[in-house]
């Protein structure tokens, strides 16, 4: 059965269609068109009604607010995100390594989040930076941490009458930053494993530490409990607490395929970043 396809011309109309029919938004198409493809010369068959929202101006653009936070509208592409001069480094880096050029001109941040693949590239750095997601229905806006919005593999807290409106990244500062995507190739690689992290050191004390593991469980893993093991420690204590931190992070992730490889590699990346940061001058990107 061929389900209906709508092309709303405004956000208001899109939200009305969403409420009345439950039609699923199609933004770039790079996930949905592949998931429901039928073959050469055949139109993809969707088992649900769809609305093409690619042209909704209200969902375009990237802005920096006065408080330093960055708002990325749902239809921003990885290409736009990677070229944005005020985009936080971790997110910029992840966006610039997604797929290949044509994909980066087609996919959207809203789609990458809404698809909720455990291997999705953008949720990982966004969750590291405590990003929030803004959802809309006909009547109201709802805002929640992105970490809570993504529930698991392919599962989100999006309600049947809502669409993803924008992402807000709060202002961020750090002394050291780390991002690594491990894939088979430079281009068109699906992440085997990814990790981003940041450390702030003030007067020899770790005042902020965060990490986010991608493709290491059903969703992006952040463990505040593990992060707290390092927070408040002096640099000269890092060696002593590092093993318990690494064990704790190892307990937090839950890779289902090749778990030993993913666990060992995650451990080595974190160890490398933390030890290098502890012995370096400030404000560095560590690779």
């Amino acid at each position: 059965m061929v389900e209906k396809c709508y092309i709303p011309s405004s956000l208001e109309e899109a939200l009305k269609i969403r409420r009345e029919t439950g039609a699923r938004p199609l933004a770039g198409g790079s996930d949905l068109m592949v998931q429901y493809k039928q073959g050469i010369g055949i139109t993809p068959a969707f088992p649900f009604p769809v609305m093409i929202i690619s042209k909704l101006e209200e969902l375009r653009g990237i802005r920096q607010k006065d408080d330093g936070s960055v708002e990325i509208m749902a239809l921003a592409t990885p290409d736009e995100i990677s070229q944005c001069p005020f985009m936080p480094w971790h997110v910029k880096n992840a966006a610039s390594r997604m797929g290949a050029i044509a994909l980066r001109n087609t996919a959207t941040i809203g789609g990458n989040i809404g698809n909720a693949s455990p291997k999705g590239d953008l949720p990982q750095p966004l969750i590291l930076l405590d990003a929030e997601i803004v959802l809309r229905n006909c009547d109201e806006e709802r805002i929640m941490p992105l970490d809570e919005f993504i529930l698991g593999s392919k599962k989100t807290a999006l309600r049947d009458d809502e669409i993803i409106y924008k992402i807000i990244i709060p202002p961020v500062s750090y002394s050291y930053a780390y991002y690594r995507k491990i894939g088979t190739r430079k281009a068109n690689a699906i992440s085997k494993l990814s990790l981003s992290s940041l450390i702030t050191i003030e007067e020899g004390v770790i005042t902020d530490f965060r990490a986010a593991s991608g493709a290491a469980g059903p969703k992006v893993i952040r463990s505040r409990e593990s992060e707290n093991i390092l927070k408040g420690k002096r640099i000269d204590e890092v060696q002593d607490v590092l093993p318990s931190f690494l064990d704790s992070w190892n307990d937090a992730i839950s890779p289902h395929a090749m778990p030993q490889y993913r666990r060992n590699t995650t451990r080595r990346m974190l160890e490398h970043f933390i030890l290098t940061a502890a012995g370096m001058p400030e404000n560095q990107i560590i690779e």
Binding site: V2, C5, I7, L26, G28, G29, S30, M33, V34, K37, G39, I40, G41, I42, T43, P44, F46, V50, I52, S54, K55, D79, G99, A100, I101, A102, L103, N105, T106, K186, A187, N188
Partner: protein, 155 residues
Amino acid sequence: MIEFKLNGKLVRFEGNPLTRLIDVIREDLDLTGTKEGCGEGECGACSVLRNGKLVTSCIIPVGAVAGDEIITIEGLRDTPQGQCIIDAFAEGGAVQCGFCIPGMVMAAQALLLVNSDPDEDEVRAAISGNICRCTGYDLIVDSILLAAKKGKGLW
């Protein structure tokens, strides 16, 4: 009805808006220069330009290009820039079986539009989403560099 520009001409499409752009190009408009390889946006054979940017036409529904300007290999061929790239591909021996070439030419054009004097690394990055299963990448890269050199001032 969906309206967009293709190679400078207005196209009106009245079918299912979820029809893949490549099927409209090849089946409805009979422009068979654009090839289909993987059908998943991974191989670049179906590359076209949308508003000057490289996209893979196999994963884009035609309903998503309303109001856009699409250029296929047929549209590019008839321009001085396109002719320059095509001549350079011939001179440089870039073409083996030829299946990936329309996509490679579109990727070269997308690069040269924003960077008229690329180095080898930039050329390799620009075609990183285009797969040549004859594996003739080196000659393709050389030919794109040749096009940039010979076509100075065109971009």
